[in-house]
């Protein structure tokens, strides 16, 4: 459909940059959950729109890959469409909205509902890679805390939530321990998605462009959400069914439909919802 743009290297970045990124990614995979610094480049989109994720995707993308991009679970939002179009133009790769057909899925703030496979890679866009940043503002100090696996501070934060509110109030960007060693920010995905990271078959890569860090979870790695023995981790989900496909398992978005308090709950993962609706339509025929 679109021929790749003339005058750009495949997937926009020059080969030396991609090499640097791949070295960083290899190192990140070798030390699960550990943040590796890298020389983030200027990308043709603003910080906060996925400059980290787009660089990771550019580094691992090959001509045979099929790319899917989601933003909050949806394939049809501005961020998802513009990144997908970007890679169509600079790399000429095939794109898809189907989770099952994609080999690389770049995501902002969600993990697809359908289980991922071994031959897929999930690339996260990360605004703040440091899970301790709100508790300890000094980078040098958080580095030391990671080196010494000194994570009591994070539990103090959870303790405070229970003491004040009766439950752990963090509903997104819920901190996890990767491989029993590193405390990691899963990027602002809902806590609902945290269990999907545990022993996932697909490789998970995290890119933070502004903060210039890459980290990774190799396939089948243990990922545990922090909690207390008597206040175990609970994934939170709106207690409704999806208004379109009727799902009771998927993560829901609340959509305001009018100014009189009308509201609708629909799946945040548009592909999952669409496929369920299509399957139901086919069954009804």
């Amino acid at each position: 459909m679109n021929a790749p743009l003339e005058g750009y290297n495949f997937a926009y970045l020059d080969e030396a940059t991609k090499r640097m990124l791949r070295r960083t990614i290899l190192k990140a995979v070798a030390i699960p959950g550990h943040q590796i610094p890298f020389g983030a480049r200027e990308m043709p989109l603003p910080y906060g729109w996925g400059t980290g994720g787009i660089q990771v995707t550019a580094a691992i993308l090959g001509p045979a890959d099929t790319l899917k991009v989601i933003d909050q679970g949806a394939d049809d939002t501005t961020n998802a469409i513009s990144i997908r179009r970007f890679f169509t133009r600079v790399a000429g790769v095939a794109t898809t909205e189907r989770t099952a057909e994609a080999t690389i899925i770049q995501t902002r703030h969600r993990i697809p509902e359908a289980p991922l496979r071994e031959n897929q890679v999930l690339v996260y866009q990360v605004p703040q890679p440091e899970p301790l940043s709100k508790l300890e503002p000094r980078r040098a100090e958080t580095k030391r805390l990671h080196a010494l696996a000194d994570y009591g501070l994070m539990h103090v934060r959870l303790y405070e939530d229970i003491a004040r509110l009766g439950h752990i109030a963090k509903a997104y960007d819920y901190p996890v321990m990767v491989g029993g060693r590193y405390l990691m920010s899963p990027s602002p995905i809902p806590a609902f998605d945290n269990p999907k990271m545990h022993r996932m078959a697909a490789l998970q890569l995290f890119g933070a462009g502004r903060e210039k860090r890459i980290y990774a979870i190799p396939p089948y790695t243990d990922v545990r959400s922090l909690d207390f023995e008597d206040h175990p981790f609970r994934p939170i989900r709106a207690p409704q069914d999806c208004a379109l496909c009727g799902s009771r398992e998927s993560y829901l978005d609340e959509v305001i439909t009018d100014d009189r308090g009308g509201r609708l709950f629909v799946c945040s993962d548009t592909d999952y919802c669409g496929e369920r609706v299509a399957a139901r339509g086919a069954a009804a025929c």
């Binding site: 501070l153 539990h155 103090v156 303790y159 008597d230």
Partner: protein
């Protein structure tokens, strides 16, 4: 338990410590007294591993404190040792509730049961005479004396064996000081704690300490049993120090 020998440290040309030796035995309360700038706090920082000496060694149960890795030293700092700062704002997290402050050390050493952490926090608040209903209040709403008692609770909750105290009664009014001293004495006796306390308050030293070290210009000029040193000072500087105390 804690043994130090030949500690020497210079800040540029200023000698902060000159060939200082000190020993703290199990269950013993040792006071370091001296005027401002005599090297008391520096000695405490070197002994607790916060600062490295130019020469000399500090040993804890035979292991060289400055030779062990930072991870081991930090573990020591939150298990066997405790540090009570002069200013409670240095030792507390002011944006974390009182209960969270007490629980932090427990969680740092691996406690993961909210109910138990909470129960221990309540127990310790009671021991340091802080009202248990204030467990979820922020320390910044506490008075100075309460903050200092909270800092002590936070330090003692993991049952350390040796506690370093840097002028724990500094900046408190006299009646609050008296209560705090009484508390420290009771707790150290009950728990069999070793305490190394830095103070310029001779009266506090007499009340708490088994032994006293008198420091001047980075040197230990006199040391011995508290009553001996204070009632029969040998060194001219100690004599001056003891005679300077106002009788109420």
């Amino acid at each position: 338990m804690l043994t130090a020998e030949g500690l020497t440290l210079h800040f540029g040309v200023i000698p902060a410590l000159v060939d200082v030796a000190i020993e703290v035995a199990e269950g013993e309360v040792v006071a370091i007294v001296g005027e401002s700038g005599s090297g008391k706090t520096t000695l405490l920082r070197v002994l607790s591993g916060l600062m490295a000496p130019d020469a000399g060694s500090v040993r804890w149960l035979g292991a060289d404190v400055h030779a062990m890795g930072e991870a081991a030293r930090r573990r020591l700092m939150r298990t066997d040792w405790g540090f009570v700062h002069q200013n409670p704002r240095d030792g507390l997290r002011l944006n974390v509730s009182a209960g969270g402050n007490v629980g932090e050390r427990l969680m740092a050493v691996g406690a993961r049961h909210y109910g138990n952490i909470r129960a221990q926090a309540i127990e310790w608040l009671a021991r340091v005479e802080v009202d248990a209903t204030r467990i979820d209040d922020l320390p910044r709403t506490f008075s100075g004396g309460m903050q200092q008692r909270l800092q002590i609770a936070r330090t003692l909750v993991t049952n350390p064996r040796l506690v370093f105290m840097d002028e724990p009664t500094g900046g408190l009014d006299v009646s609050v000081q008296a209560r705090l001293l009484d508390l420290i004495r009771t707790l150290s006796r009950e728990l069999g704690l070793s305490v190394l306390i830095v103070t310029h308050d001779i009266a506090a030293a007499r009340l708490l300490a088994d032994r006293i070290l008198v420091m001047r210009r980075g040197r230990v000029v006199e040391q011995g049993l508290t009553d001996r040193v204070l009632d029969d000072p040998q060194h001219p500087y100690t004599q001056l120090l003891v005679s300077s105390v106002l009788a109420a």
